[in-house]
Amino acid sequence: MGATLRRLSEPARPAAGAPALRLPGTGDWTRPVPALTLTLFLLPIGAGLLGTLLPAFGWLPALGGRALGLGPWRALFAEPGLGRAVLVSLVSGVGGSVAALAVVVLFCAGCHRSRLFRRLRVVLAPLLAVPHAAVAIGLAFLIAPSGLLARLVSPWATGWTLPPDVAMVNDPWGLALGLGLAVKELPFLLLMTFGALGQVQAAQRLRTARALGYGPATAWLKTVLPAVWPLVRLPFYAVLAYSLSVVDMAIILGPSTPPSLAVLVVRWFYDPDLSLRFVAAAGALLQLALVAGAIGLAALAERLAARLGRRWLAGGGRGGGGRAADLAGRTAALGALGLGLASLLGIALWSVAWRWRYPEALPSVWSAQTWLRHLDALLPTTAVTFGLGLAATLVALALVVGCLEREQRGGRRPGRGALWLLYLPLLVPQVAFLFGVQVLAVRLGLDGGWLALVWSHLLFVLPYVFLALAEPYRALDPRFGRAARCLGAGPDRMLWRIRLPMLLRPLAFAAAVGFAVSVGQYLPTLFAGGGRVATLTTEAVALSAGGDRRVLAVYAFLQTLLPLLAFLAALALPAWRHRRRRGLRLPS
C-alpha cells in the first residue's frame, strides 16, 4: 500500500481554520486559580502594609489622626528601651538563624556519608510539626534553673537544693530565645537542604571531588554547598525574617523589660492607651526595616563569602579525612534535635505531674487531675484549633492543586519571581501587616469571624502547602495523564481519578504540614480573632506568663499532639488506601 504514502516537499502550513493546539479552555476551572490565589495573598499583605504605613505617619481617622507627620516616629524613638529591644531582636534572631544554618552546613559537610544522615529524615517531619510555642515552653521546662537539666544533676553534682538564681530563661540578651529559634528552625532548614541535595546531583559532585583527592568535608563544602545554596537561600531568608520578628517564642523565652522589638510592638497595639497605636505602627515599620536590613546584609555576606570561597576553592587545599567534621556535625545536629525531643518529653511529664518538688528528677505524685480539671476549657479550644486548621488547610489544598494543575494544563511553569511572591508572607514580618489587616477587618465587620481567621491562617498555610506539594506534583509522570486522556477521560476526570489518587501520599503530607502551620499560628489568630478567639496556641502563650506549669504543659501537649496526629494520619491513610497496591508503596 505504498501508494497511500505521498511525500510533499512544500513547507508546513497552518491548518485552515483549526484553532491553536491548546488543551480546551472553555469551562476550565483552573484558569482563574493562580490569579485568585495571588489576590488572596497580595490583597491582605498590601492592604495590611498600607494600614500600618498610614498610622505610622499619623493618619488613622478612627483615632483622630488626620495629619500626616513624623510624630509617631519621634514618640517611638523616645520610648525607653527601644535600642535594647532592637538589640535583643538582633541577637536572638540573627544568632538563632545563623546557628541553625551553621549546624545544617556542619552536619551535611561532616556527616553526609553516615547512616545517621539518611535516617535523620524520618524524625525531621514530626519535629517540624511541633508548634513554635510548644518548643519554647518545653525548652523553658528543660533549661530553667528549676528545669529538668538542673534536676538531673542536682543535688548530687551541683549541691543545689534550691533553684540557682541564674536567668537561664528570659535572659536580658535573648540568648535563650536564640537557642529556641535555632532548635525550632533546624529541622526546617535541614529538610529544605535535603530536598535541594536531590536536585543538584550531590553524589556525582562528591565522587568527582573525592577522586581528585579532596577529603569528604572539604569536597562537600567546595563542590556541593555552592550548588545547594541558591536553593536554600529563600528558606534561610524566611527563617531569618521569622526569627527576627517572632512573637510567641519571644514572650515565652525572651526577656521582658524590655522584650524584643516585635513583642514591644504587640504590647503597644494592645495598650489601653489608644494613642500608642501610632507608636506601634511606627515600630512595626521599624521591624520591617530590620528584617529588610538583615536580609540585605545576608545577601552582602553571601557575596563576600562567595568571593573568599572562590579563592579558597582555587587554592586547591584537599582537607583532611573528615573525622573531626563528622564528630562536630554529629554532636551539633544531635544536640539540637535532642534538645527539641527532650523539650517534648518535659511537656509530657509536666502535664501528668501532680507533685514535683525541686530537685527531684521525676514527679513524686502522678495524676491526670490537671487534664480532667481543665477539660471544659480544653475541649472547645481544641475544637476551634482543629476546625481552623482543617478549614485553612482545605482551602490551601484546593488553591495549590488548582495552581499546579493550571501549570500542567497551560504547559508553563512560573518563574523565580513567583517563588518570591510565594515566600512573601514568610518574609514580611507578621506585625508589619497584621495590624493593618485588623484595621481593615474591623472596617469590613469581619474581625473575629471565621472568614478573617481562616484567611489570615491561609496566608501562612498556603506557602508551606505549595512547597510540600509542588515537587511531587511536577514529578508525576505526565504520560499517566496523557494515557487517561486518550482513554476518553476529560481533564477533570483525569485529575480526580488518576492524578490526585496517585498523589495521595504527598497530598496527605502537604495537608499535615499545612495543618501543623495553622495550629502553630499565634499572631494571626490574635489579630484576626480580635483577641476573642482562643486556640491552643494563644492559650498556651497566655498561660506561659502564669505560674502553673502543669496547666501550661497540658495546653502545650495538646498543641503538639494535634499536628503529630495529622502527620500520623498522613502516613496511615495512603498506606491503608494502597495496602494492596505494590506499585505505590514507598521504596524501603
Binding site: L5, R7, A12, P19, R485, R577, G583
Partner: protein, 230 residues
C-alpha cells in the same frame, strides 16, 4: 480466538495526516509530513531518537506539549481531529511503559477505558471479563497491576486501550522494554487485534524487527525536508 476475521477495510476509515509540521523553540522537527494510514494496516515510522516521532504521535492524539508549535491537519474516518481535546478524538495510544494506573486494580484499569455510554455496573463488568478472557487473563479482575508479569501488563494495557473503542491506534515503541522472547509474542498479539478491529495503526519504533513484523509501509523520519521511504 474469536473476532479475528478481517474487518471491512473501507478507505473512509483511514487516519490521514496532512502537511504536519512540528517546531520546538524555533527548531523544526517535522516538516510537511503527509501520511495516510488505511484501516487494518500498520504503518511504521522510523528514525533516530530526537527527530520528533513521539511528538508526532502526541500531536495526533492531542496531548502535544503546548511548548510545541504545530501545524497541519489530522483526520480520522473523515472527521477533523485538529483542535479537538484528546478525549474526543477516539485515538488510542500505547506507550513504551504500560502505564497501568498503579492505584487501580486490573478490572478498574480496564473499566476506566470503557466509554460512559456503556451503562450499568453489570454490563461494564461483563465487558471487563470478556476483555480479560480474550487477553488470556480470565479471573484477573482484582489483581494489583504491580503483581503482573511484563507480558500480562502489556496485554492489559492493550485491552484497556481497545475497550475505549478507539478508531485508530498509535504505538509509541510499546515493545521496547519487553525482553526478546516476550517481544515477539506481544507484538503479534497487538498487531492481530489491531487488524481484527480494522484499526489504522501508526507504529513508532527504532527496532527494524518491529517494522518487519508490522508488515506495512515504512516511513523514515529524519531531519526536516528529508523524509524518505523505507
Amino acid at each position: 480466538m474469536s473476532g479475528l476475521a478481517p474487518a471491512d477495510p473501507g478507505p473512509d476509515r483511514a487516519l490521514v495526516l496532512e502537511g504536519i509540521g512540528l517546531r520546538l523553540g524555533g527548531r523544526s522537527l517535522v516538516e510537511g509530513l503527509d501520511l495516510t494510514v488505511p484501516p487494518g494496516e500498520v504503518v511504521t515510522l522510523m528514525g533516530p531518537s530526537g527527530v520528533g516521532k513521539s511528538s508526532l504521535l502526541d500531536f495526533v492524539c492531542g496531548t502535544l506539549d503546548p511548548a510545541f508549535e504545530a501545524s497541519g491537519r489530522v483526520r480520522l474516518a473523515g472527521r477533523e481531529l485538529t483542535g479537538l481535546p484528546p478525549e474526543r478524538r477516539a485515538v488510542g495510544i500505547l506507550f513504551q511503559d504500560d502505564l497501568l494506573f498503579p492505584h487501580l486494580s486490573v478490572a478498574e484499569n480496564l473499566a476506566f477505558g470503557i466509554p460512559p455510554s456503556v451503562r450499568g455496573r453489570r454490563r461494564r463488568r461483563a465487558r471487563v471479563a470478556e476483555a480479560l478472557a480474550e487477553a488470556g487473563l480470565a479471573g484477573f479482575e482484582s489483581r494489583d497491576p504491580a503483581t503482573l508479569s511484563g507480558g500480562q501488563r502489556a496485554r492489559v494495557a492493550l485491552f484497556r486501550t481497545l475497550l475505549a473503542e478507539p478508531r485508530a491506534l498509535l504505538l509509541d515503541e510499546p515493545f521496547g522494554k519487553l525482553d526478546v522472547a516476550l517481544r515477539d509474542r506481544v507484538r503479534r498479539f497487538v498487531f492481530d487485534h489491531a487488524r481484527a478491529r480494522a484499526l489504522p495503526t501508526l507504529l513508532v519504533t527504532h527496532d527494524p524487527a518491529d517494522a518487519r513484523a508490522a508488515g506495512g509501509p515504512r516511513v523514515e523520519l529524519s531531519t526536516p525536508g528529508m523524509q524518505q521511504f523505507g
